[in-house]
């Protein structure tokens, strides 16, 4: 692989392009889904190819799975032709200068998920599936396992040569229940197939699906008879599996500099956090600190270098409640005069790198969830992602979770179903009045973040601890 990359860089240098890079990767994926005691899907995929970016007049990008030197030459020719076409409607492109590395990085892990026998994984998932079979009203019992292994090289005409070997693993279980009148869903440890980390099989084992299967299934059944979420304004506490998505949608996306500069305006949308608000916008209460941190141990968005060759580093986005930083590419950083964040990533070899979240983490506070509950007169605890929607500037959001728990006079009382809450991003975060401490802080993986055209899916991480927000509108819609 390295030889082919070196050949490509030499070709780009010979063609005298202003800038060029090659990213060659081989990606192995294993997906196992077990549903109602039968295996719904097992698939093992392998994909290998490269993407070539050039600045040759304008930007050009071409990708191919043809792993011959002729294939590289042909793809460079295509990228250059595209770049020339771009120059018909493109201002000069400037890139922020970066440190150049010749280095390698490997995900720290204990057990290679691809070396664990298929039989062991299948037997375990089927055991979990059977453990959830506790009530006739459970119509679907599902367990998932997923693992990814990526070997990739990045090289540029500026001298970068970086090899990375990344491993990610995870899974989960869920039930769909129905009594003919209503239908509910309950998942563990989260929706979207579970939870995922940049670790080996040991992470999947640590999820303890078997130990949690029955309780998850029972709560799914209990939701059928639970009371409907009340309407009104009250304090809410978000458990980490839902708070991770709140951070994702209302801080992760709007602090992507490409969105703020408009380059996603026609698809994913723009951002209310425009460059004129940098350092000026009071985003949240003073206890709110949010960072982009691709160095976080085990995060699904953890790596050594991004797809522009920028070394992973922790960057402040929200500091003491103020908007202070962006997730920025080399081009965006140069345009706005901010630092690069090491956030440019592509979905596989085929796609163009975009500004993507790494691990966008809400830093821990000094409360405990127990204290939050004790100091809440009337509120709802939200748990487990079910529905999520936000406007194209990332202001008005509405989330629904699988389960809610009423808090009355400092105590958790009833389970409630179809809980929803809604708000405006900066008002919501300004109303954050409690964040739990480090011992309750958890790093979740979101494997399905969509962005870009053609659409790309990215794996990102979000660390957070349970947090409380005051005076939030809950129970939206007619039921």
């Amino acid at each position: 692989m390295r030889d082919l990359v070196e050949f490509g860089i030499k070709e780009l240098e010979d063609k005298d392009v202003r800038y060029g890079d090659i990213r060659l990767s081989k990606i192995n994926t294993e997906v196992i889904s077990v549903k109602n005691d039968t295996v719904e899907a097992i698939k093992n995929s392998e994909s290998e190819g490269y993407g070539i970016r050039v600045i040759d007049g304008g930007w050009g990008f071409a990708s191919s799975a043809d792993l011959s030197t002729e294939g590289i030459q042909k793809t460079i020719k295509r990228a250059r032709k595209i770049a020339k076409a771009s120059s018909k409607a493109s201002d000069p492109i400037e890139l922020k200068e970066i440190d150049i590395y010749e280095d390698d990085y490997t995900t720290p892990y204990k057990k290679d998920p691809f070396e664990v026998s298929l039989e062991e994984k299948l037997d375990y998932l089927i055991d979990v599936n059977k453990r959830m079979d506790i009530d006739d009203r459970i119509k679907v019992r599902k367990c998932d396992f997923r693992a990814w292994k990526t070997k990739k090289f990045f090289a540029s005409t500026e001298g970068s040569m970086i090899e990375q070997n990344l491993v990610k693993t995870g899974g989960g279980c869920n039930v769909n229940v129905s009594d003919g009148e209503d239908t509910q869903k309950r998942s563990y440890p989260n929706s979207f197939g579970g939870d995922f980390n940049s670790k080996g099989y040991e992470f999947f084992e640590s999820l303890e699906l078997l130990e949690n299967a029955e309780e998850t299934a029972q709560e799914g059944v209990d939701l059928l008879d639970a009371e409907q979420c009340p309407e009104g304004k009250m304090d809410i506490i978000l458990n980490t599996n839902q708070l991770a998505l709140q951070v994702h949608e209302s801080c992760g996306h709007p602090t992507e500099l490409d969105r703020a500069l408009g380059t996603e305006a026609s698809y994913a949308g723009t951002s209310f956090m425009t460059p004129d608000k940098l350092g000026e916008l009071k985003y949240g209460s003073e206890m709110v600190n949010i960072v982009s941190d691709p160095t976080a141990e085990g995060g699904l968005g953890t790596f050594g270098y991004d797809d522009e060759g920028v070394k992973a580093k922790k960057v402040d986005l929200i500091k003491d409640g103020m908007f202070v930083g962006y997730q920025a590419s080399r081009e965006g950083a140069e345009k706005v005069g901010v630092d690069v964040s090491g956030s440019m990533r592509a979905d596989g070899w085929k796609n163009l790198p975009l500004v993507r979240m790494t691990n966008i983490n809400l830093e821990p506070g000094d409360w405990s969830k127990k204290e939050m509950i004790e100091e809440t007169d009337k509120g709802i605890i939200f748990d487990g992602i079910k529905s999520w929607s936000i406007d194209d500037k990332r202001l008005n959001f509405q989330f629904g979770t699988e389960a809610g728990y009423l808090v009355e006079d400092g105590e958790v009382t009833d389970l409630i179903k179809n809980p929803t809450y809604t708000g405006i991003t900066y008002e919501f975060w300004r109303n954050c009045n409690a964040i739990a401490g480090e011992d309750e802080w958890k790093l979740h993986g979101v494997p399905n973040c969509g962005k870009g055209e053609p659409p790309q899916t990215m794996q990102v991480g979000h660390g957070c601890a349970p947090s409380r927000f005051k005076d939030i509108r809950v129970g939206v819609g007619k039921w």
């Binding site: 018909k88 026609s266 194209d392 007619k478």
Partner: protein, 455 residues
């Protein structure tokens, strides 16, 4: 495109010859995608992608395994077969799996493949984009955004029972967002066009519609939340159809009691003027004539004169019900999302959009929706926001633009509250999966807006 039907057949023959499994299926998808993105009236991303996916499904008895590779080297393909067979051997017996599909004779349907689309060049895309940029500038807008995509795909399916299918497909899609931006105010406008033939894309019409909407969408105002009559343009209706499809029209979801159609067959669900069907052979539709198992796509009348009539099946879900056959709606298998209606149309009515507006005392005109998500899929409750052009209608006239609004609405109720159906329908592509929708405009009463935003 580098490979021909004959080359695909050779790969398939090799796999069939080497296979030890009782049954084997080879699916090859080869694609070449070109896309020019523009933002702030500049081309900022411009790409060309080519890839091939060779997927093999191996079957021992009622045990299946699948593997895929994107290498056409013989050793990689044999390794892929070996992985699929190993997985199948380790698999557990699935009593619901009744085998790979048998060959079915099908009428030759003309391919949706247009050479001019396949050969469209980066220069041609850039010129069209430049035209839009210059036209917008002449109207005072120097911020247009969008993407111009052309794609060519080959799909080959074969199985050891004798299924052999090959089809070529092209698509072209142009989108434009125009942002009028001055005096600390912004107006967003949108338009798009989709066809298998790039020559059908009227780029100036797309651009000028977006510009006109952007210019007419400044100085937006708030409105009280509540229920309003709405006139939904075809793109907004497409979003509703797309989510109805995901929430209700799959045989699997019905079987698992996760569909709003479950237990409702034969009952009137919606207004009697509502006909929703999946039919790739309709002149207003494009797509492959067969599904990803090689089964010919049949017309499925899902909602027939408002009545819940039938849903779509792949071979697996059909095998779970006595007397059912696949309707030709398998996604690439194995796939938890399969089956899915991928060529969905709604029948037109008698009204022009202008007539719908004229007959509205007080209502809201919606260009499109953003970030829709099910709140309760089985009840058919969806939330989302308006985007890129929302206006107040009063006394039969469009009065002024509104800040974007959030709806939280039961779609079944909404389709019972239809007051008028548009006389034309428009074709739209889905981004994340290979589906197309043909939707008319609709006027619906009592549409529930539950939130608003600041622009």
């Amino acid at each position: 495109m580098v490979a021909s039907e004959r080359e695909f057949e050779k790969i398939s023959e090799k796999v069939m010859k080497e296979a030890e499994a009782d049954e084997v299926e080879v699916r090859i998808i080869q694609s070449d995608t070109a896309l020019t993105r523009y933002a702030n009236s500049q081309i900022h991303q411009n790409i060309g992608q080519e890839d091939i996916d060779i997927s093999i499904r191996a079957v021992f008895g009622q045990k299946t395994g699948a593997a895929s590779t994107n290498s056409i080297k013989e050793e990689s393909i044999i390794d892929c077969l070996s992985k699929a067979e190993t997985i199948a051997r380790y698999q557990k017996t699935d009593p619901n799996f009744k085998g790979l599909p048998e060959p079915i004779e099908m009428e030759k349907i003309p391919e949706n493949h247009v050479d001019q689309t396949a050969k469209f060049t980066p220069d041609e895309r850039a010129e069209k984009v430049k035209d839009i940029i210059e036209m917008a500038k002449s109207e005072g807008i120097d911020r247009v955004y969008g993407a111009f995509q052309t794609q060519e795909q080959n799909l080959f399916i074969a199985n050891s029972k004798g299924v052999r299918r090959f089809s070529r497909f092209t698509s072209a899609n142009l989108t434009t967002t125009a942002i009028a931006d001055w005096d600390n105010d912004q107006g967003f406008g949108w338009s798009e066009s989709c066809s298998d033939d790039v020559r059908d894309i009227d780029h100036m019409d797309v651009g000028s519609t977006a510009v006109e909407k952007g210019l007419n969408n400044m100085e937006t105002r708030d409105i009280d939340l509540g229920e309003y009559d709405v006139v939904l343009e075809p793109l907004a209706v497409k979003s509703i159809l797309q989510y109805m499809d995901m929430m209700g029209f799959s045989g699997k979801k019905v079987q698992e009691e996760r569909s709003f159609m479950t237990g409702k067959f034969g009952e009137k669900l919606m207004d009697e003027r509502v006909n929703i069907y999946d039919d790739v052979s309709d002149p207003d539709m494009i797509g492959y004539p067969f599904d990803y198992e090689g089964v010919p796509k049949q017309r499925v009348d899902i909602i027939d004169e408002g009545v819940a009539n039938e849903v779509v099946y792949d071979s697996y879900t059909a095998g779970r019900e006595e007397g059912k056959e696949s309707t030709g709606h398998a996604l690439p298998m194995p796939n938890p999302m399969s089956p899915l209606a991928m060529n969905l149309l709604m029948d037109t009515g008698d009204f022009s959009q202008e007539e719908m507006i004229e007959e509205t005392d007080k209502g809201i005109l919606v260009t499109r929706f953003n970030y829709c998500r099910p709140v309760h899929p089985v009840k058919g409750i969806l939330t989302g926001l308006t985007r890129d052009g929302t206006w107040l209608i009063e006394d039969g006239e469009v009065k002024h633009p509104l800040n974007n609004l959030r709806f939280t609405q039961n779609l079944i109720e909404a389709f019972n509250n239809i007051e008028a159906i548009g006389e034309k329908r428009k074709l739209f592509a889905m981004g994340f999966y290979p589906a197309y929708f043909a939707a008319p405009a609709l006027k619906i009463s009592d549409f529930n807006f539950t939130g608003s935003t600041e622009f």
